[in-house]
């Protein structure tokens, strides 16, 4: 038998062996292939699951920010209210209103002199 014939016979026998693999082995090979291919095209549902904790965290951060902002705003507004009361209640301002006639007369005198 020539070397070429010998190698052809070996190849034919090996081909025959691999073609007659049992169903269980073929099934396992198929499962292995599908599992490997799943890496190329990951399922969208899995992606969604991956994003779920991140979106939950983002929502929590947003709610906390809104709450803090609003409470600061309320605090700031209430401070403004206190400032207004202080201004209205201050005695200097009341003096200004009491002497308003004097200041009006001073303005008229300046205008006539000018």
């Amino acid at each position: 038998m020539s070397e070429k014939d010998f190698l052809n016979k070996v190849k034919k026998q090996l081909d025959e062996q691999s073609e007659h693999l049992d169903a269980a082995t073929l099934s396992k090979l198929n499962q292995a292939r599908q599992a490997a291919l799943a890496q190329v095209n990951p399922k969208p549902s899995r992606l969604k699951n991956n994003w779920l904790p991140a979106s939950g965290l983002a929502a929590a951060v947003l709610l906390t920010s809104v709450f803090l902002f609003r409470s600061e705003e309320i605090t700031t507004n209430s401070n403004h209210g206190m400032d207004d009361i202080e201004i209205i209640a201050s005695s200097d301002n009341l003096d200004l209103y009491e002497q308003l006639d004097f200041y009006m007369w001073l303005l008229e005198e300046n205008n006539s002199a000018g």
């Binding site: 070996v10 025959e16 082995t25 073929l26 090979l29 292995a32 490997a36 190329v40």
Partner: protein
């Protein structure tokens, strides 16, 4: 702008599907031979399946984006690497087992005998099956007793039909070494099988 974005996404999805399809076809073509090569090398059905599965994962994970012409030598390079890893682990395990005084028992003999008694699932003539099986067994034994490098060179060149250059890539050696290993393997197999294959 939004339309362009939608088109880009569609093209990307199509490319992924094309790539998946191409990889699926490639792996379907090589998986049986890869399993047989692994089984001839390690002599264990489940270990051979694990090796093929690992090789598939590694190819898809690392080389899916490489041109498809490169997949064959890359896949067999991974496969041969996994087989060598198995040999190393097995050698350490065998050394420890023999050092500790354990020995392998033939617990699977009974199951193998029972399976051999089952009728042929492809409906072939029993005498033909017996002759073929003997011939195949002889071939398997002859390949199994080859040194690993000769076995790899022989199976990749003769069976898988890889070129010398691609076999050298798969075996991580020079083309000259591939030729030497292959030539020695052919010589050794012809010597072993000459009495049965005349």
């Amino acid at each position: 702008m939004q339309h362009d974005c939608v088109i880009d996404k569609k093209i990307g999805k199509d490319r992924t599907l094309d790539k998946t399809h191409a990889l699926d076809q490639f792996l379907s073509q090589v998986e049986r031979r890869a399993f047989k090569i692994a089984k001839l090398a390690v002599g264990n059905h489940d270990e051979a399946l694990d090796i093929v599965q690992d090789s598939m994962f590694a190819l898809v994970q690392k080389y899916a984006n490489r041109p498809s012409e490169e997949w064959t030598p890359l896949f067999y390079r991974i496969l041969q690497s996994r087989i060598r890893d198995w040999y190393r682990r097995n050698k350490v395990r065998t050394t420890w087992m023999s050092w500790l005084g354990f020995r392998k028992d033939n617990e699977n003999d009974e199951l193998e005998n029972a399976l051999e008694a089952l009728p042929d699932p492809h409906g072939r003539d029993p005498s033909q099956v017996a002759a073929n099986e003997h011939s195949m067994e002889d071939l398997e034994v002859a390949i199994k007793i080859l040194p690993l490098r000769q076995q790899q060179a022989f199976l990749l060149r003769t069976w898988e039909g890889l070129s010398v250059a691609d076999t050298a890539i798969a075996m991580k050696c020079s083309q000259g070494s591939v030729k030497t290993h292959h030539s020695r393997a052919v010589h050794s197999l012809r010597e072993t099988l000459k009495e049965h294959w005349t």
